[in-house]
């Protein structure tokens, strides 16, 4: 089981790298969708007592939401906002990748310093989820378009989800559904916000929101 888990975790890091290095919004949304699907498959790989119906249902719900519903919402947002489909980064792509590598090394270092009282499923699950959180934060800060900030938020949440799965292997069903519901509402609201920003200002450059005048 650990081998599958490790492959999923490495694929998660690679998708982070692609998100940091790619310049097209549509591409970023697709990669974020794949990342959501992989995160949804995580609980099935960690379940050592075999697949229970609950875990399978939860995984399916995550895959459906993060892999299909969110990307559709985001795609609609960029289609309707007919603006530029470029990411428009504050920090260049190569520098972003470097930051991603730094975040990865930092989280592995951090993981070496932390000592978890419980037996973890895989040696790399904690540092990978930490680095996903860092990457998500970086994407929120370092990208100009609102859609990309939503993607950064999604990556951040994926990291938190992976970490919670690693530490509390058995997440209460209701709590999990509540988190998913929150995410759904958040992405929905952000989608509407992007649409509104676009209606008012002909662009969705969040940097220029700082110059709003009453």
């Amino acid at each position: 089981m650990t081998a599958y888990l490790d492959i999923i975790l490495v694929a998660l890091i690679l998708s982070d790298f692609i998100l940091l290095g790619s310049g097209r919004l549509g591409n970023c949304i697709r990669i974020a969708a794949w990342q959501g699907i992989m995160v949804g498959l995580l609980p099935m790989a960690t379940a050592d007592a075999g697949l229970s119906f609950r875990i399978a249902a939860l995984g399916m719900a995550v895959v459906a939401l993060k892999g299909f519903v969110f990307p559709r919402l985001l795609n609609r947002a960029i289609r309707e906002s007919a603006g530029s489909r470029e990411v428009k980064p504050f920090v260049g792509y190569t520098t972003s990748l470097l930051a991603g590598v730094l975040a990865l090394s930092a989280s592995f270092w951090l993981d070496g310093r932390l000592s978890f009282p419980l037996q973890l499923e895989s040696a790399i699950v904690v540092p990978v989820s930490l680095s996903m959180m860092f990457t998500g934060l970086f994407l929120v800060v370092a990208r100009r378009t609102a859609v990309n900030q939503v993607i950064g938020y999604l990556v951040l949440e994926n990291g938190i989800y992976a970490l919670s799965l690693a530490i509390v292997r058995d997440v209460p069903f209701l709590v999990e559904l509540g988190v998913l519901m929150d995410m759904f509402v958040a992405v929905f609201v952000m989608g509407i916000a992007i649409y509104r920003i676009n209606m008012e200002f002909d662009h969705m450059d969040s940097n220029r929101l700082a110059k709003l005048r009453g």
Partner: protein
């Protein structure tokens, strides 16, 4: 003995690898394509020709092609037999391999600058930019292999890798193979980085640096380029073959089959991908470096 076969097969069959790539691209495009052994005919034709040497050039331009070929043959001699015998090579010879490749690049770039052509200067500048990004990736990849296998020479690395290592650190080794592949495409000026078929001076990288070479000199450059692709291909194939753990003749056969697959893979990449814009290519190479670092971090974790 199989080691000698591996070396000789590299020296003799390197032009076939280019033929395989051309055939694969032709198959994708629905053409029949140039014959598999076309490059031998090209080389023979070039060797029979006379050569023109520009009056503005110095001795650098004249000796560079020969030296580059000699250095590439040395690199091939270092890499190809290393899988067959752990005693081949010496401690730290992977650094020597990088030095050889760097020296060959230095000579190519110097001879390009020696012509005084502005196009060749642009090509030289790009070549140096790519190499500055691909060399760290390559070195970190070798670091991963040294760490996982415990060997400090190419032969020792391949000897130290086996089924057990692939089981415990397989993801890291796969990432190394991917990074090797990206670096191979960059170093050999294949498609996402440079289109070997293009003849627009403004966009070429490797081809533009050898614009002024002709006749036997150009034959040496063409053959050297094919050999360099073979060297990088063997790095990947040797690494992947360690998972099987074969020795002797079956291994030599698997090696040749693996090289054929590398050729088909490169041809497929060239057929399905467009060339990246010049500004984007460094990102891809930086990605290869990031993958190498990831492999290194993973290898430290998996082997605790």
């Amino acid at each position: 003995m199989p080691g000698l076969i591996l070396l000789l097969s590299g020296l003799l069959l390197a032009p076939v690898l280019s033929g395989v790539i051309v055939k694969t691209k032709a198959a994708f495009a629905g053409r029949s394509g140039a014959p598999l052994f076309q490059q031998y005919h090209d080389l023979a034709k070039l060797l029979r020709k006379g050569q023109v040497i520009s009056g503005t050039t110095t001795f650098v331009f004249r000796i560079a092609p020969t030296l580059v070929l000699v250095i590439t043959v040395a690199a091939a001699a270092l890499v190809a037999p290393s899988i067959a015998s752990a005693r081949w090579g010496f401690q730290g010879d992977f650094v020597f391999l990088l030095c050889l490749l760097g020296l060959a690049r230095f000579l190519t770039v110097s001879s390009a600058l020696d012509t005084g052509s502005s196009f060749e200067g642009m090509g030289a500048s790009r070549e140096v930019l790519y190499s500055a990004l691909s060399e760290p990736a390559l070195l970190i990849c070798f670091g991963v292999l040294a760490r996982v296998s415990g060997g400090m020479s190419l032969g020792g690395m391949y000897d130290g890798l086996g089924y057990g290592e692939w089981l415990s650190a397989g993801t890291a080794l796969c990432l190394v193979a991917v990074s090797f592949f990206i670096v191979m495409l960059a170093e050999n000026s294949r498609i996402p980085f440079d289109d070997p078929n293009t003849h627009l001076e403004l966009t070429m990288v490797h081809e533009v640096m050898v614009l002024d070479n002709s006749g036997p000199d150009f034959a040496m450059i063409t053959y050297g380029a094919a050999l360099k692709l073979w060297v990088f291909g063997s790095l990947i194939v040797n690494l992947l073959l360690t998972a099987l753990g074969w020795t002797g003749w079956p291994h030599a056969a698997a090696y040749l089959a693996g090289m054929l697959l590398v050729g088909i893979l490169v041809g497929t990449v060239e057929s399905v991908m467009a060339r990246l814009s010049l500004l984007r290519t460094p990102h891809l190479l930086a990605g290869a470096g990031a993958i190498a670092v990831l492999a290194f971090i993973l290898s430290t974790r998996f082997l605790q």
